[in-house]
């Protein structure tokens, strides 16, 4: 049976500016899927964009190259990744005026 595992990386946290998720090790997995649930979104023209990032060492990061997940309203969003090396995180950009978002972020991994 294949191993699988889900990590909850942000638990109903509210952000009012750009943020990165904490580094998470995924070397054992061959596929991963980000799930982002926008629980609340406020402000003017608020949009959260999440760019998947990869790293060889958990210290230095680059964009993975996929199109960002664009989240202008409440709801559940997702992005699948493969061939990502050892570490994953999301670089999250919050656009708009007086913007804030409350997010739940999951990383679902499979062997």
């Amino acid at each position: 049976m294949r191993h699988s595992m889900t990590a909850v990386l942000e638990k109903s946290e509210t952000y009012t500016s750009n943020f990165d998720t904490e580094p998470y090790e995924v070397g054992w997995a061959s596929e991963a899927r980000w799930f982002i649930r926008i629980q609340k979104i406020a402000g003017e023209d608020t949009v959260l964009r999440a760019y998947p990032q990869i790293s060889p060492d958990g210290l230095f990061w680059c964009d993975e190259g996929s199109e960002p997940i664009v989240m202008p309203k409440e709801g559940l969003y997702s992005l699948a990744l493969r061939e990502f090396g050892q570490w994953l995180r999301l670089r999250c950009e919050l656009a708009g005026k007086s913007s804030s978002v409350m997010v739940l972020i999951y990383l679902a991994m499979k062997e």
């Binding site: 909850v8 070397g27 060492d57 210290l59």
Partner: protein
Amino acid sequence: MSLTKDDLRIALIQANPHLSRYNPLPRILFYDDFDQGINGWVELTGNHNGDLTRIREITRDLRPPQLSNATFFDVGTHGSVNGVYSMKLATRPKAGHMSQAIKRMTFVKPGLVQLETYFTFKSEQSFNWSDAEKAAWNGNQDPSETHFGEFTFSNDNCEDHNGARYHCALRYVNADEHGKLIHKWMYKTSLQTSTKMQMAGMVKPPEDYHVQSPDDWKEIPGGYQPLCYNEIPTKINWHYLRWIWDTRTRRNVELQVNNNVMDLRDIPVPVYDHAYSGLSHLLNFCIDVRTRRNIRNFLFLDSILVSVDW
């Protein structure tokens, strides 16, 4: 010469490459090799009513454990004692932040419980040493060692319908918030603040998960023990740990870390003066790491073996 049942059991354990480095009690309750997955260890989270913003601050962000191959920027993959993967607990880079993993069991009957593991600990590589740290580096003692705060092995025990509950907690303090090396094993002297206690206003919200006041810790007799940090943050050396407690006496029994065997029988363990429901025969195993600086701290567990005398 005739073999006893115990002779045969010990011979089988000693002939098994995975088990021969352990010293289990008669019944192995579980053996968690993290090359075989996460094995039931999960982030501890505080109680809530479905609204995660209601979780108490101290238990709100204890971070999910990771299956790590211990890869570092200078040498690549270190791996574990056997195989590739260990379970890694990682704090945020924020002074006072703690990461804790828990495994939840129940017990069949009261008795001895023994947790054994091979562990190692590191702070994250820092590229921003202070001037004092740059001046102090002598090629042997590395500032990184002073960036690592502490780790704690603890449990959560609740008896049957009487609801009597207590936690044992043993903490290794490596360095304080100023970076002073302490190198001591400590035991806690006050109750862990529960959600119930905090909601009832019985106590103030704690600064330290395990105790009501951050000063509620005492040195274990014989608890001074410098461990093998090994100079820089990318060399990991595994340490043996064996901790035994007795759910008949509600006491710790012994802690062994490499050559240091500490008798814990006379150390008091606080018991709640109020009952807890829904926790009949609870037996939880908890491991955490806490940073005292704005630098991530990591604790790696190669494998964990828990055995009992039931």
